[in-house]
Each structure stands twice: as C-alpha cells, then as structure tokens.
C-alpha cells in the first residue's frame, strides 16, 4: 500500500507573510476569490489586574491551512457524484468530468478546502501539487515559505518526527475528519474548542 501523504506546519516559525497562499494562487492561476491555502490569524487576550496596575495579556498566531487530505474525508462521504475521491496516497481530488457543482462538499468541509470555480461550475481544491511531486519537486506552498514553516511527506514519518497535534484554534476538532496534518504549536496556541480568541482576518479565509 502506498504511503499516505500529509502536511506539516510549524506555528512557532510562521510570521503570517502569506507567501504560501500567493505561491499557490500563482501556480494554479486562480481567479479572484479562490484560495486553496489560507493563513488564519487567531488573536485574543485578557487583562490582569495587580493592585492598581492593569496588565494586558494578549496573543496572536498564524495557522496556514489547505486541504488536509483527511483519513475520514467528510467531503468524499457527502459528494453525490463520487467526483470527490481519495487516491492510494491519501490525496483527495475532484474529477472535473463528474462534479456537478452542488457545493455539498463546501458545506461539509470544516477547513473550507473545496472552493467553487464559477466559470466551470465545478469544485476545485488542493491536490498537494501532484504535478510538482511527480517531478520530484515540493508543493508550491512548501517551497515558497521563507520561514520553512511548512512541510509535507508520508504522514507516518511526519507524526513520528513532530507528534500528532492538530487540535489548535481556530481548527475544528480533528476527530471529525481526522486530518493528515501535524502542527508544532505556538507557545500561545489555544486548544480547539476553547474559544478564547477570534479569527482576525475572516475575509481572507
């Protein structure tokens, strides 16, 4: 059986420059409104009072997310046409000859990975740059990151090296789709579901 692939992301290195997003858009020549890899800024904070002094205690960190080629892909489960399917290597792709553009996968995916191309009427999403990988190159986003915060590879190897964490705000509970994603958390990373902060750039996701 082929090795299943996944992404790695290091929150401690990401500066929120969004070079990954731009590299992805550039490589796939996306129309305005389509962005397979997006960087969420999660921010929040509290005040602490110590006598007469009030000290702010704030945090902010970035999470770069594309499709996680999940182990239990809800997008594949709900797709009525079987256009959305998972390959041997775990990569989830859309068969453009089958997709009816019903957007059910878009409703379902908690990472906003499937996005509609209004011109073709079909859904589109990240395939981890299958063409680049076939030539032995890294996916465009991984290659573009100046901080080397992104990685990709067989998920078993990534997990052995970096742990298994994927439950960080603003990401959903990984139990839902079991994303092939490993995160090295920022020192202020908030656990999923804690709701202590908010996404500061919702328009970019």
């Amino acid at each position: 059986m082929a090795e299943k692939l996944g992404f790695y992301f290091d929150q401690t290195l990401c500066t929120g420059c969004k070079a990954c997003s731009v590299a992805c858009k550039d490589k796939h020549d996306h129309a305005v409104g389509i962005s397979w890899r997006r960087v969420a800024e999660y921010a929040g904070g509290t005040w602490q009072q110590d006598g007469d002094t009030v000290v702010p205690n704030v945090f902010s960190y970035y999470t770069s997310i594309a499709c996680n080629h999940c182990e239990d892909p809800i997008c594949v489960r709900v797709c009525p046409t079987t256009a959305m399917s998972q390959g041997e290597d775990g990569i989830v792709t859309i068969d453009q000859t089958k997709c009816v553009g019903c957007r059910y996968c878009e409703w379902a995916c908690p990472y906003s990975a499937p996005q509609l191309n209004a011109a073709t009427g079909h859904m589109t999403k990240c395939d981890m740059c299958a063409d680049y990988r076939a030539e032995g190159q890294d996916p465009a986003c991984v290659a573009a990151c100046p901080s080397r915060a992104l990685g990709w590879g067989p998920i078993d190897e990534l997990r052995a090296k970096h742990g298994t964490l994927a439950a960080v705000e603003p990401l959903p509970d990984p139990a839902i789709t079991r994303p092939r994603l490993v995160i090295t958390p920022h020192r202020d990373a908030q656990p999923t579901g804690s709701g202590t902060g908010f996404v500061a750039n919702p328009g970019e996701l």
Binding site: I74, T81, V100, T120, H122, L171
Partner: protein
Amino acid sequence: MNTHELPMIIFTVLAQMSVGAFVVLGVVQVVAGRRFGKESVDKVTDPALYAIGPALVLGLIASMFHMNDVFHTLNVVRHLGSSWLSREIVFGLLFAGLGFLFAVVQWFKWGSPRLRQALAALTALVGLTLVYVMSMIYYTLETVPAWHSWATPAQFFTTTFLLGSLAVGAAFMGALMWRRRAAAKSGNVFHVDDATRTMLSSCLKGIGLGAVALLGVEFVIIPMHISGLSAAGGAAGRSALVFSGVWFIARLVLVFLGAGLLAVFLYRYATPTAQVRTLAIIATSAFVLVLAGELIGRSLFYDSMVRIGM
C-alpha cells in the same frame, strides 16, 4: 434573506408541501370515504391530487438550478451508498414517478379501488421517506451546528404537514370556485349538493384544527432550537443570530396569521351552510400566508449555515 440558495428554498418547500398534501389527501380519502362514500370523496379530492403534480415538477426543476453544471446532473446518483444528496434525488424522482402513476390510474379509474389504495399508500410512504432523507442531508453535517440538530427533521416534517394540509384546503375551495365560475359562464346556476357541503366543511374544520396544532409544534421547535444554539456558543451561537431581525419576525407573523388566526376562523366558520366564497377566501389566504412564511423560514435556515473550524 438568502437569495443565492433560492433553488434549494423553492425545491425543499415545494417538495415537502407536495408530500404533505398527498398524505393529507390520503387521510381525507380514508376518513371521509367511510362517512360519505368513495365516489363523492373522489370528486373533491381528485382535482387537488392533480394540483400536486405541477407543484412538485416546479420544485424539481428549481432544484436543477442548484447544480452549477447541469450537464453533469446524471452523476448525482452515483454515490447512493454514502451520500444523502444522491438518496434525495432518487427518492424525489421515485415519489414523482409513483405520484404520476397514481394520478393516471385514478384518472382512468384503472384497477380495483383496493389496488389504487395500495399504490397511494406506497407513494405516501416514499414521500415521507423523501422528507426524512432531505432532512438527513443537513442533519448529518456535524460541521454545521444549526443543521446538525433534531430541529432539522422536526421542522421539515412540520412544514410538510402544515403546508400540505393548508394546500389541500385551498385546492378544495379553488376547485369548487372554478367549477362555479365555469357554470356561471355557461349560464347555469352551480349547485353544491348537501352531502358535498357537509363533507367539505368537515374537511376544512379538520384542516383548520390540524394547522393550529402544527403551528403550536412549530412555535415550540423554533425557540428551543435557537436557545440550544445560543447556549452552545461558538459557531452555533453565531448561527443563532440569523434567527432575529425583520425577516425572522415576518416569518413568525405570517405563519401565525395563516395557521393561527385564519385557521381558527376556518375551523369556526366551516359549516355546511357557510358562504362558499368566504370559505374559499379564508382557505386560500391561510395557505398563501403560511407558504410565504415557510419560504422565508427556509431561507433563514440556509442563512444559518455557519461552519465550525475555518
């Protein structure tokens, strides 16, 4: 208000109304048939039966506009084993097909009454399954808290029976008025015999009573759903905010006027000696008000699609 989901709003509401009307017609057939005889009941229910067809077809056509590539529509049945959307299409077509078949055999009075009744029962069963399958499309999305709630199937079935029964009431009176006008045009005086009057008035009474009861159910589901979402916070809490403001109030008021006020009116006024014209106006306005209210309600339902995650 949500306009880009218009195809889905029209399709789900019309399909549910069709199923509800079909089931209510079946109940009328069985209950009234026993009291007034099958022949005279058929005379009243058949026109209403034929009115369901266009409504359902309109809904199915609207659903096509939801697909961003209509040319691939035939693919939507490929994932029956896993996708509720595939199942919805199959049950939608099955209900339409069986309904059409039943309308045809009823029109030509083919087969024994027994056989026709069995076909009607099967159609009703497939229709109710269709409503269940429709609700599962949304209920099973655990990533959308406002949909992943018992309120989704509860609301879908309430809409089904509420709109279905009021549509039947309106269709009964509409058919009667139409025949009256046709008679007047040809210079005859249209006479509704006493048995028909008695039967119609008791049907309308039943429909009025049913509508008020279903209104009560709806007015329990809505606040419970909203308070559950608010209490959960996060994405659920954000989706609860959709259920406020002008459109939400308009929805409540319309449904209340139609299924509350006018339905009570219908119940009290529907007697064998009542004015046919007045009854027709009450029954039709009740239906139109509730239809408008439910369409707005469904639009808010689609607006409440707030996903967890990012």
